[in-house]
């Protein structure tokens, strides 16, 4: 294995560099996945079949909390990668820990929201609108849930093995995933929630 010490750890071998490129290609596919969900959402948004529409069930407070929490977690995972590049393992783990706590907080609010929707009579089978709404939000939420556990295992591994080309590479790829989820949320926030409450 050829290690180039002039580059950050996560890029230090060719395999690492290619893994990062490969993950970007996966993210390209994820953009298209969420594109299809948004296409279906915009098509079905007015098909409420006598059930509630967005303006009736969306509440600004939980949505704002989710947005701020996710934006902040995207910032802290960026700081974690920055600390990692400085070789500061403790700071990196602290920022990663904060990121995961914020991720868990986001999920908590989202679960509360889903319970609220069902109480308002907007279950997944109520109308075409509620089906695509909960499918789109749920797909994003499932990604965050997966990311939470992925990040947790990376945290444990870095703690155990320290910052090596391998663990640094995994951490960096995880940070790409987490930032991407924040980008998707920005579109959900703008074109599902704010558009629905406008």
């Amino acid at each position: 294995m050829k290690i180039d010490n002039s580059l950050p750890l996560e890029y230090s071998t060719e395999e690492n560099r290619l893994k990062i490129l490969g993950f970007w290609i996966f993210l390209g596919a994820e953009i298209m996945l969420f594109g299809t969900l948004f296409a279906s959402y915009f098509t079905l948004v007015d098909r409420t079949a006598g059930g509630p529409d967005g303006a009736e069930i969306f509440k600004i407070t939980p949505v704002l909390i989710e947005t701020i929490v996710l934006l902040t977690s995207s910032f802290t995972i960026g700081l974690a990668i920055h600390a990692m590049r400085l070789g500061k393992k403790k700071a990196m783990l602290a920022f990663l820990g904060v990121t995961l706590l914020l991720g868990a907080g986001f999920l908590g609010v989202e679960i509360y929201e889903f319970v609220h929707y069902v109480h308002e009579g907007a279950g997944i089978q109520t109308s075409a609108f509620t089906s695509i709404l909960l499918t789109t939000l749920g797909t994003h939420g499932a990604h965050v849930t997966l990311g939470f556990f992925w990040g947790l295992f990376i945290l444990l591994q870095v703690k155990k093995r320290g910052l090596t080309p391998e663990t640094a590479n995994k951490s960096f790829i995880f940070s790409l995933y987490w930032h991407f989820l924040d980008v998707v949320w920005i579109f959900i926030f703008s074109f599902i929630y704010l558009k629905g409450m406008m």
Binding site: I20, F34, S74
Partner: protein, 94 residues
């Protein structure tokens, strides 16, 4: 402590909060649908670009060209899917 908070990322975070606040104007102010959608489109895409460049370091390695090509391709397909669907399912019938 200070070295752990690089100015570029702190500024990026502050800017993303400002963009969120601007997007919120469509909720708190009375706007026409067209104006509101314009505000949302502008803030959302700037926000996405900010994440990509400032936080995801999309342009830092020698694979920069491949990474950007791939992101633009994904975005192109997503937008064609969304607007193509709107055209044949909604707008075509008005």
């Amino acid at each position: 402590m200070k070295e752990l908070f690089p100015a570029k990322q702190v500024m990026g975070f502050v800017f993303s909060l400002i963009l969120t606040a601007v997007a919120l104007l469509v909720y708190f102010m009375d706007m026409s649908f067209e104006l509101g959608m314009t505000v949302l489109l502008v803030t959302a895409f700037i926000q996405a670009g900010l994440q990509l460049v400032v936080f995801m370091h999309a342009g830092e390695s020698e694979d920069k060209a491949a990474i950007y090509t791939n992101v633009y391709y994904g975005l192109f397909i997503a937008l064609v899917t969304i607007f193509g669907t709107l055209l044949c399912m909604i707008w075509g019938y008005i």
